[in-house]
């Protein structure tokens, strides 16, 4: 699927797709402005980040115990809990639940974890119809594409492209490029699906251990319908989504929605705690939770990389990444794109497979500045780069460690290091370079495709300073 060559090919395709790049620029500029309007008081934002990071960090430290408590509470509430080590296991569990319930049609709310497991394909191959009900997911399901963003999966498409997709998929509905009309058309199609579906599958934003509550935010009401209208509801989530107390949820929700979409709160906040009770008129008869590991416990074994698991999937790092803004999400070729993808995917898939992503970063620091849980993303990206070429001493070896090592590059750095750590040699080097500046090449590979070649100065700064009478050691 991936590897360095595949990645470069997709980068090339993305950079040549002018329409898509314009779509990304427009959409992300608007999301950035909305987020900034919510966080006008920087002191407040920084305090909230500290608070939320502490909540997440404490939950990670106590994760094993919290997961046990979560299972106990959920079971008491009548929600059945299933544990999956791998993506395939999760898919098999969900498929078995559906088969046992005689379910052949499923509506789905947005879930990145189900993208991780490739759930839709798995179920479709077994004859189960899966309909994505989040508008963005609905659009890309029609286009047969994966999400290009973890919060806004169809962000790469503009309304004309969406209108054309709808025209081809629903010939009975009159063509429109009006956003409200398009939404109404999707609603028309989806309402019937909700009414007919045997089961609903959703993700989870936070699973609360003390009360056994599954918290799910959304804007379209599709999450509410997915989790209440069909007779079976299956939620799937990563094990790291557990938090301890209900009182942890408000600050988490605040920073999640403000960071993600610039909303003070989403239109719908679902707190799911039990299936339908006797005498109640609605709600699913069965509720299941599938808790997936899929490589997460491996990430836990490294103190620095552990921060990866603090992530609440708001997508702010993606929205601010200047490389993502140019490329969009598909170029990454992984489930999670952007900075969090560069950090998460090489750990999940190994450095041979996804290590090339670490080169798609200027280490500008924008992602680390906006991350609501203060994951030091630039530092982690740099760490993974180092792991990919030389490994890091004392660390738990990552899969594919040193797989991107190139002898020539390693040699060049060794030379550079030798020069920069020997002042006399370095001085001699600058003397030679400044005197022979006319020999500097005019073409420098990819650099001069877009810029002129830099020329060494006539005199080194040290020489100039000496001449001005400064004492230089």
């Amino acid at each position: 699927m991936n590897g360095a060559n595949g990645f470069q090919r997709r980068v090339d395709e993305a950079l040549h797709n002018g329409q898509m790049r314009r779509n990304f620029r427009t959409a992300l500029t608007s999301i950035q402005a909305k987020r900034e309007a919510q966080f006008s008081d920087d002191a407040q934002l920084q305090a909230l980040r500290e608070q939320v990071r502490a909540v997440r960090a404490s939950a990670l430290t106590q994760q094993a115990e919290l997961l046990e408590r979560l299972e106990t509470r959920l079971t008491e509430n009548g929600i059945r809990v299933h544990w999956a080590e791998t993506a395939d296991q999760a898919n098999a569990i969900i498929c078995a639940i559906l088969e046992a319930a005689g379910a052949s049609t499923v509506v789905k709310g947005k879930s990145m974890v189900s993208e991780e497991t490739g759930l839709n394909h798995y179920l479709e191959r077994r004859g189960i119809e899966v309909i994505e009900s989040d508008l963005g997911e609905f659009i890309i399901q029609l286009a047969k594409e994966p999400p290009s963003h973890i919060v806004a999966p169809a962000i790469h498409k503009n309304r004309r492209e969406i209108a054309e997709l709808f025209r081809d998929a629903f010939p009975g509905i009159p063509y429109s490029e009006d956003i409200e009309q398009l939404t109404r058309n999707a609603r028309l199609v989806l309402r019937e699906k909700f009414a007919a579906a045997d089961a609903g599958i959703s993700g989870v934003n936070f699973a609360v251990a003390e009360s056994g509550t599954l918290c799910l935010v959304e804007n379209e009401g599709n999450g509410r319908l997915t989790t209440t209208a069909p007779r079976v509801h299956i939620a799937i989530t990563g094990v790291e989504k557990v938090v301890e107390n209900l009182s942890d949820v408000p600050p988490l929700l605040e920073i999640l929605t403000k960071s993600a979409t610039g909303q003070p709160l989403t239109t719908y906040v679902n707190m799911i705690s039990r299936p339908r009770q006797p005498g109640e008129l609605d709600g699913p008869q069965e509720v299941h939770l599938v808790l997936l590991d899929n490589g997460r416990s491996g990430i836990r074994s490294d103190d620095e990389l552990l921060d990866t698991l603090l992530c609440i999937r708001c997508g702010a790092c993606i929205n601010y990444c200047p490389v993502y803004i140019q490329l969009g999400g598909h170029a990454y070729g992984t489930v999670y794109p952007g900075p969090i993808g560069i950090v998460l995917e090489p750990q999940r898939l190994g450095l041979e497979q996804a290590g090339a992503l670490t080169s798609a970063c200027t280490l500008c620091g924008a992602c680390g500045e906006v991350c609501p849980v203060k994951i030091p993303l630039p530092r982690l990206i740099n760490r993974l780069r180092a792991e990919a070429v030389q490994g890091v001493r004392g660390a738990v070896p990552l899969s594919g460690r040193r797989s991107l090592r190139k002898a020539r590059e390693a040699g060049a750095w060794k030379l550079w290091c030798g020069l920069y750590t020997r002042p006399r040699l370095y001085r001699l080097f600058t003397l030679v370079v400044t005197r022979l500046r006319w020999l500097a090449p005019a073409r420098l590979g990819g650099w001069t495709r877009y810029r002129i070649a830099p020329r060494p100065a006539e005199r080194a700064l040290r020489e100039l300073a000496c001449r001005e009478g400064f004492r230089v050691e």
Binding site: P322, Q326, S359, C361, T362, C364, G446, Y450, R451, I452
Partner: protein, 100 residues
């Protein structure tokens, strides 16, 4: 420090500081990034030069030599095709020139 430099420079006589679109967005240098991902880097620096050109500023000042080399180099390469190239200076050079 970028905001402090802006304040400092704005206080000098005969200087008009102009702002431009997406000032805080990375110019695409990133050290070896510019060599390893030349096309992504090229796309990023193109956006940066376009935004700067729209201001019609005559001089671009920065405290980062990498940014200066990248943006200045791109401007020089585009010169002629896309119009005049402003002068690129490190903040220290700019202040030195004014005090000398």
């Amino acid at each position: 420090v970028s905001d402090r430099i802006e304040t400092l420079v704005a206080q000098l006589g005969n200087v008009e500081v102009v702002t431009y679109a997406r000032e805080t967005e990375c110019c695409g240098f990133g050290g070896t990034f510019a060599i390893k991902q030349p096309d992504i880097s090229g796309a990023m620096v193109k956006d940066k030069t376009d935004a700067l050109r729209a201001t019609r500023a005559t001089r671009v000042i920065s405290q980062d030599c990498g940014c200066l080399m990248n943006i200045g180099g791109a401007f020089a390469r585009q010169a002629g095709r896309l119009g005049e190239c402003p002068e690129f200076q490190h903040i220290a050079e700019f202040l030195w020139e004014r005090t000398a």
